[in-house]
Symmetry: D2
Subunit: 358 residues, 4 copies
């Protein structure tokens, strides 16, 4: 029997990636769409029409027909009966109130930052810290909720946390320096990144992004303690930039390790990471969680973003690092609106289902 | 003595091009900035700050300092005393009411379409139809205005009308087919063209653009009759598209002529066009109104847009046309926010000053 | 039993699209790769390595493994035994000699222009003029070849000929004006279009392209006479430009028709076109040869190029045309390296197989 | 009296930037152009024509006329009489032999790497290490040359060395981590970066670039010892990437300092750097060697590259760094073919002239 889902924030880019990922999903079924009051009462096609009349649909063109005639409801007033789960991709300051409203009654899996930094809320990437889901019990008890909230990480955190997870597990990570080259889709659809700002250009700053990356990575790679996560204690110094690429974030990473590791050992740790995730229980999971490239010209965002359904983290240019400390440096590419947002959240849902939370 | 100007719509791209063009202008001086009520009461730098904090300034970086601390007024309530002229570049439906308010008292030279299609309002390109300015007398009398409104053409009309003007004058134009490849700056700053819509893409439709091009070109190349313009009677079939180019519209043009003309005669007509405009009275005018290229790979928007201060119309690929009718076909490039908007409007102001209207 | 194929010009973009399209094809099997002498003797991966070390592979990343270790042979000396068919995608002046060499012994289906303009050589698009294949008999007799040559059209011709075919069949086409906005992949891989020439830019000229479009379209839509094609006699006036789009050509088309047709009749003719092509005999054929869009903002190259495997011709903005003559105008998008090159040639092969030529 | 110069490698992008920078220079005059034997004997306009017929001229369009009819000579056989100086911008492995040939007789100022790593050859940035020019005496004596060779740094080194120079001077630099986002023009004109490789994409590797940056920066910021440069001993860990930007390299820099410095002290060191360079003796020098931005969204390559004639190094996002060590992190933008190549080399020439070497 299908788990009946609402997509809240269905009109944004992450929302559309949810709709794309949930077409013919074996476990989940989209039964309700919601967005801001501006969209409420329109059918979906009209709700995503821009001021100039153009329809903003950024995933597979033919999938739109599946949702075009569904009515979009007001996220603030949408009835919750008939729902088993809410996927939240709200691009606004309203996320906190909305997710609270839903979580009182239903499980909420979210791509937003509204609850990420609460002590009783885990940020989950299944292969890295699926066990943090146990914190949900604490959360429910403390908040007296029938449901719960589990957010995925920020899209820039996702690739970094996945690449560091096997290193931290095997060798310990001591210090990280990271520069991101982020795709325009990460800024959302409305207003998003204006073409005047990014054609033939780079914007060297994304508000709040760098702090999120540090805090979230530490939390994801931390240890579940009694009633909270004890964050990993390695510091991250980051510079986040926006580049003229449509989809997929590229990151250059320098990591000092706690104990020495050969490049062969690092490769082994990376390529085996996530091998315990079973595709039959996790149909959205990549076959290979980390895809390692020997070709130094890879990974490239346009070329590698859709590999493995946009769910693998592509790593290349793996080299020894000595300036930051004994460790490694590398380049990674991660699909920011698939693994880094909606499809990654769906993967969390698949994991929570297996763990009995759904 | 300087003519004291207000720039209304000062926060948009066309508004900024006004600010750029008016730095150290010999005749005009910017004394007031206005925009929507949202911007009113802020200094200019804050008024052009986007939601994410980024300052939207698209012209020479160091020119911003000249205007950064000027207060932006509400266009709807801005006092008119101390002003001799209003340049209007309002990007909204409010243009009509605002321009009416100003024109009751002051000359208004506009980049908007609010008044373009009124029978007593000329659309002026000085080298093509400067004499249409005489219609201002009719306008003032009919409307009982102390001021008047003169708009420049739509940015896509500008290059086409300039390229056709010498042909129409010398040989008569019978029929025109045109396809435009328009730059993103033409869509303005907010929301403008989202990068998700245009990177690696073309949008084959710009609402209302094609009709404007036909109607405006016919009016500009028409004859001044008693109390109106008798439009040129050649039809134009146009397809207007948006392409991933920052600035400058490219147009492919096919024109059937009323009487046969050799390519040499067409070249002569084009290259001598505008030769009677004097740079000392028209400091914003291009040295060459139409720049003809023999190299078939030119004109190119990135390469040719800034030639002659962004004020020339670059024409290339001049060939005989026989399918539409006996005539010529060619490609043109025109800077859409300079000659096609603010700086073109400034040139109209220079022309009206010489003709005694300012 | 599989038809054993060689891909000649396997290192170029069209060659790679052949390799992509032939992965697990039910009828055809790639048994040999050939290219210029520069590549000969290298394995495929090395043969596509650029001077700076980067591997130039522009189709599905994981398909490279299938071909990476195959030896690339010299197209000029490749043995022909063991082959049933040659697909030629040579990007050079050598195409004529090479295709002659192969055609003496084997069927050759080509994406090059080497033989396109010979009187005894048909240019085939199955749904438009599959019957022209009968000219192969004439060709073989005249040239005393055991094989034959059948080229597909130029990539810019393809979409135009497909869109005009149903109009010409149903109403007659009298005159055409076309402007193309062509993708960079059409210029091939080496040297191709340099990024310095096309970022934030348009190049308004592609040598020889416009003449090809006219000549080929007339031939494809012509009538098979005794021993040659009697070309359709409508003239085409074209302007071909290069734009910053990776894949898929966009074309604005104005067509005067011989007899009046309502937009509804034109739509009907377009949407039923190709309906007689059977997917079981033509696995590369699109489900819909022409996909019509009501949304005026479509088609868009990035959005629509991969619909139906890159094999449909997307048409939108269908409107009445009156300036060129009574008829229609529209915008089309066609994938230039799939339907417009390799996969289109494969579709020709499927058609010739059904007709007994393979 | 003018110093008579030859531009060798005149057909490449750096060569063209020399031609642009030397239009009406007060001290230098271009009297001879040279390139590879392939270009020899052609006039300049023909020499820069691509295979498809397009002229490759990437600087001010109207400057081409000044050079179009000059004959291009073969760099290997060009006579040296009548010359006082050679500017070398050869993009090939031939640079070493050619520069040797010239240096036996004439001063050679080069944008190539041919001689950069020789112990008796300084790499000069006037404001940073103009005094290293004294090494020319050693070089001439050792090599028995009447002339000499002085190269400028690699374009990616330039901005980094300039930004670090005042920090190293005032506080000492201990360790540096840098990620570059490099413009396509840095790869030269032929073949350069193909558009298929970079539209909507990033290439995470530029062969040899990272090693050059480390070695050159250490040398430039080193101390002139008896007969060689004693390099600065701080290590640099770099990742160099190519991004879809036409001109100007962006770099994210993390620098640990030897002694603590407040952000105010760092700002003071940066903004006063180069203040002793006199514009009357160095007409190519920027007014401000380092332009500091408080706006965190700056610097941006498209916006800031042409500030101060493309000669300033724009620095922004200045923040404290603690992960690499006590120090600072920031983002810089440097025009790679102006300050980072030809115009930077011209500035070296102006400096050597003042020091009596020319």
């Amino acid at each position: 029997m299908s788990i009946r889902c609402a997509i809240v924030g269905a009109t944004g880019i992450a929302g559309q990636q949810f709709l794309s990922a949930l077409i013919q999903h074996p476990f989940f079924k989209v039964v309700r769409l919601a967005a801001s009051s501006k969209s409420a009462g329109k059918n979906y096609r009209e709700a995503i029409r821009q001021e100039d009349g153009q329809v903003s649909w950024y995933v597979e063109p033919d999938y739109l027909n599946t949702y075009a005639d569904m009515m979009v409801e007001d996220a603030a007033t949408m009835p919750l009966e008939g729902l088993d789960l809410v996927f939240s991709a709200v691009e606004s300051s309203a996320a906190r109130d909305l997710e609270t409203r839903y979580a009182e009654h239903l499980p909420v899996i979210s791509t937003t930052s509204a609850y990420r930094y609460e002590t009783d809320v885990p940020i989950i990437i299944p292969a890295a810290n699926g066990g943090h889901a146990q914190l949900i019990h604490t959360q429910r008890t403390a908040r007296k909720w029938r449901g719960f909230v589990v957010p995925g990480p920020n899209c820039t955190t996702t690739g970094l946390a996945i690449a560091l997870a096997p290193l931290h597990r095997a060798f310990g990570v001591d210090r990280v320096i990271m520069t991101s080259l982020q795709a325009v889709s990460g800024a959302g659809r409305s207003p998003g990144v204006g073409s005047m700002d990014i054609v033939d250009n780079i914007v060297p700053y994304i508000p709040n992004e760098e702090g999120k990356v540090e805090r979230e990575t530490q939390k994801i790679l931390g240890q579940l303690a009694a009633e909270a996560i004890d964050p990993a204690n390695f510091p991250i110094s980051a510079t986040c930039t926006r580049v003229p690429v449509l989809e997929a974030h590229t990151e250059t990473v320098y990591a000092a390790l706690s104990k020495p590791a050969s490049l062969a050992e690092v490769r082994e740790a990376m390529t085996t990471f996530g091998g315990d995730i079973n595709p039959s229980t996790h149909p959205s999971a990549p076959k290979q969680w980390i895809t390692l490239h020997d070709d130094p010209f890879r990974p490239q965002p346009r070329v590698d973003r859709d590999v493995d359904g946009g769910m693998t983290t592509s790593v290349g240019r793996l080299r020894e690092e000595t300036v930051l400390g004994i460790g490694v440096k590398f380049v990674l590419v991660s699909h920011n609106t698939k693994m880094g947002a909606a499809k990654g959240a769906l993967l969390v849902a698949e994991d929570l289902r297996l763990r009995g939370f759904l």
